[in-house]
C-alpha cells in the first residue's frame, strides 16, 4: 500500500498495482474507443487526425456527423455501460461474498429484460418506454429478491439461491412476453435482449451519464471503504463501526440502479458484471471489491468486444452481447470448475 499525504494531515492510500491495472484498462478502453471512432464498422474510415479535429469542433461536416452523432454516442454508451455493469457486479459480488452473486446470475438483468419486454410487447412503447421499463424491471426485481432473502440480515448464499430461482421464473415470463409480441417488435426485443450498442444516440447516453454522476460518488466515496470491512463478516464490520445495514442497502440500491440504467442503454449485455470484477481481482491481486479497476476493465471489455462484434464478420455486424456472452459463458464454466474445486461455491 502506498500513501499520499498532505501537510494538513489528509491522506489517500492506494495500491500501485491496482492503480496500474486501472489506468492500463482505462487506456485500453480509450484506445479502443478512438479506434472505433476512426474506423467504425469498416465503412467510412477516418484517420486519427480527422477524428481528433472533429472532436474539437473542426473538420468537414460529413466527418463531424459520422463521428459526433453516429460513432461517439455508441462509443460513449459502450464505455459507460461497461463501467456501470462492472461496478454493479463488483458491489454485488462483494456484498454477497460470492462470485456467483452477480447481477447476471441473480436475475436483475432478467428483471430489466422483463420490464423492457412489457414495454415493447404489451404496451408497444418506443425506446424511452423500453428504457424506463428496463429500469423499473431491474429495480422491481431488486426489491423482490431483497424482500425474499432478508431475514435478520442478508445472507449471501440465500440471496444467490433465491436469485437463481427468480431468474428461472423471469426467463419463463420473458419467453411468454416474446410470444405475445408482434413479429417486428419481437425482432426488436430479441436484438435488445442480446445487448447491442448498434444505433445508440445521445438520448441513450444521457440518462446513464446522469445516473452515473450521482451513483459513482455514492459507491466510490460513500460505500467503498465500508464494503472492505463488510467482507470480514457482519460482526467484525459492526465492531469496526460500520453501519452495516445502511451501507449494504445503499450499496445494493446503487448497484441495482447502475445495472438497470446500463441495461436500459444497451440491453442486458451478458456477463460483463460477472467477469470484469473477477478479472480485476486476479490482475490487481488486491483484496476488497476492487471497484475502480473493475469499472475500468468493464469499459475496456465492452468497447473491445464491440469492436470485435462490428468487424469480426465483414458486412454482418453482431450484437456485442454475443461476444461477451461467448467469452463470459466460457469464463463462468471455468470459474464454476475452479471455485468448486477450491470449495468456495
Amino acid at each position: 500500500m502506498s500513501v499520499l499525504r498532505t501537510s494538513g494531515g489528509l491522506s489517500v492510500a492506494y495500491r500501485p498495482r491496482a492503480l496500474a491495472v486501472g489506468s492500463g484498462c482505462l487506456l485500453l478502453a480509450l484506445l479502443g474507443a478512438l479506434f472505433t471512432l476512426a474506423s467504425g464498422g469498416g465503412d467510412y474510415p477516418l484517420s486519427v487526425d480527422q477524428v481528433l479535429s472533429t472532436l474539437i469542433g473542426q473538420g468537414n461536416p460529413a466527418d463531424a456527423f459520422i463521428v459526433r452523432e453516429v460513432r461517439l454516442p455508441r462509443v460513449a454508451t459502450g464505455l459507460l455501460v461497461g463501467a456501470a455493469l462492472a461496478l454493479g457486479g463488483a458491489v454485488f459480488q462483494s456484498v454477497v461474498r460470492n462470485p456467483l452473486g452477480s447481477p447476471d446470475i441473480l436475475g436483475f438483468t432478467q428483471g430489466s429484460a422483463a420490464g423492457a419486454l412489457v414495454a415493447i410487447a404489451l404496451l408497444g412503447g418506443g425506446s424511452l418506454a423500453l428504457a424506463s421499463g428496463a429500469i423499473l424491471g431491474g429495480v422491481g426485481t431488486g426489491l423482490l429478491i431483497y424482500a425474499l432473502s432478508w431475514r435478520q440480515g442478508l445472507h449471501g448464499y440465500r440471496l444467490v439461491l433465491i436469485g437463481i430461482g427468480v431468474t428461472a421464473i423471469l426467463t419463463g415470463v420473458n419467453g411468454y412476453l416474446l410470444t405475445r409480441a408482434q413479429i417486428s417488435e419481437a425482432a426488436r426485443a430479441v436484438l435488445w435482449l442480446t445487448g447491442s450498442l448498434d444505433g445508440r444516440g445521445w438520448e441513450d447516453v444521457l440518462p446513464l451519464l446522469c445516473a452515473m454522476v450521482v451513483l459513482l460518488p455514492v459507491v466510490l466515496l460513500g460505500c467503498a471503504r465500508a464494503l472492505h470491512m463488510l467482507e470480514m463478516g457482519d460482526d467484525t464490520a459492526y465492531a469496526l463501526g460500520v453501519r452495516v445495514d445502511r451501507v449494504r442497502l445503499a450499496a445494493l440500491a446503487a448497484a441495482v440502479l447502475l445495472v438497470s440504467f446500463g441495461a436500459a442503454a444497451a440491453g442486458p449485455v451478458a456477463f460483463v458484471a460477472l467477469v470484469a470484477p473477477q478479472l480485476a481481482r486476479r490482475l490487481t491481486k488486491a483484496p476488497g471489491p476492487n471497484l475502480l479497476p473493475a469499472a475500468c476493465l468493464g469499459s475496456a471489455l465492452l468497447v473491445l468486444a464491440d469492436l470485435v462484434a462490428q468487424r469480426a464478420f465483414t458486412g454482418h455486424e453482431l450484437p456485442v452481447g454475443v461476444i461477451t456472452g461467448v467469452l463470459g459463458g466460457g469464463y463462468l464454466v471455468w470459474l464454476l470448475a475452479t471455485e468448486r474445486r477450491a470449495g468456495r461455491i
Binding site: 500513501v3 491522506s11 466515496l221 463478516g233 460482526d235 469496526l240 481481482r281 483484496p287
Partner: protein, 268 residues
Amino acid sequence: MDATAGTRLHGDGLTLGYDQRTIARDLDVAVPDESFTVIVGPNACGKSTLLRALSRMLKPAAGSVLLDGSDIHRLPPKQVARTLGLLPQASVAPDGITVADLVARGRYPHQGVLRQWSRTDERVVSESMASTGVAELADRFVAELSGGQRQRVWIAMALAQQTPLLLLDEPTTYLDIAHQIEVLDLCAGLHAEGRTVVAVLHDLNHAARYATHLIAMRDGEIVAEGEPAEVMTAERVEEVFQLPCTVIDDPESGTPLVVPAARHRVRA
C-alpha cells in the same frame, strides 16, 4: 453510591433473543473498569449473545446497554468502535489478504475518506503486530497461517483499533495449549497496560488463573460473579456445568483449580 459507578460498560434489564426465541431475560451485567473479566458457562448458554449485546451487534428486546453513560445504540458507530473493540467468535478473512492488510483494517474507525492512512495508523499497526508476535508474518497471506497465528492476527486487528475496552469471544478455542497460554498472556498484558478486557473462555482453570472478575452463566442467567476464588467452588461448578468435581489450589498460581470427578477410573 450508584451500583454502576466504576463501570464504563454495563447492561441494565437486558432481554436478549433472536426472532421469537428469548435467550436471556432481565439480565443485569456490569464490566468493572480495568478488570480482566472472564465469562464462563456451558455451550449455548448465551455467552456470545451477551457479548454481542454489549458490543451493540444485537439490539436488546428490552433494557439497554450503556457505554460511558449513554445508550450504546444512540452513539455514533465509529465513536463506539474507538472505545469498544470486539473480536467475534467467527470472522472471515477476505480472499488474498495479507496479515499487514488485515491488521490495518482495525484502523477503520479512526479513518475517513480524506484521512485514509495517517502516520499514526502506520505506527499503531506495526505496534499491534509486534505486541502479538505477528510482525514477521506481515507479508504472508492470512489463509496460509496456522490457527494460532491466525488468531493472533485477529487479536492484532482488534488491538489496532486502540480501544480502552476489548471484548474477545473465545479467543483460545481451537488453539493448542501453548498457544492458548500465549494468547491469555497477551490478554493479561493488555489488562496490565490498563485496558478493560472481557473474554469468553471454556477452560475453567485458565479462567480462574487469569480473571480478576469472573462471571458464570447458565441458561441466559448470571449464576455467580466476583473474584475467581469466591466464584469457583465445587458446588458452583457442579451447579453450572452439571459436573461433579473437586477444587484445589493451583500449585503454580494459587488460584482455584477444577479437577473433574472421574466416573471411570483407569485401573493402575
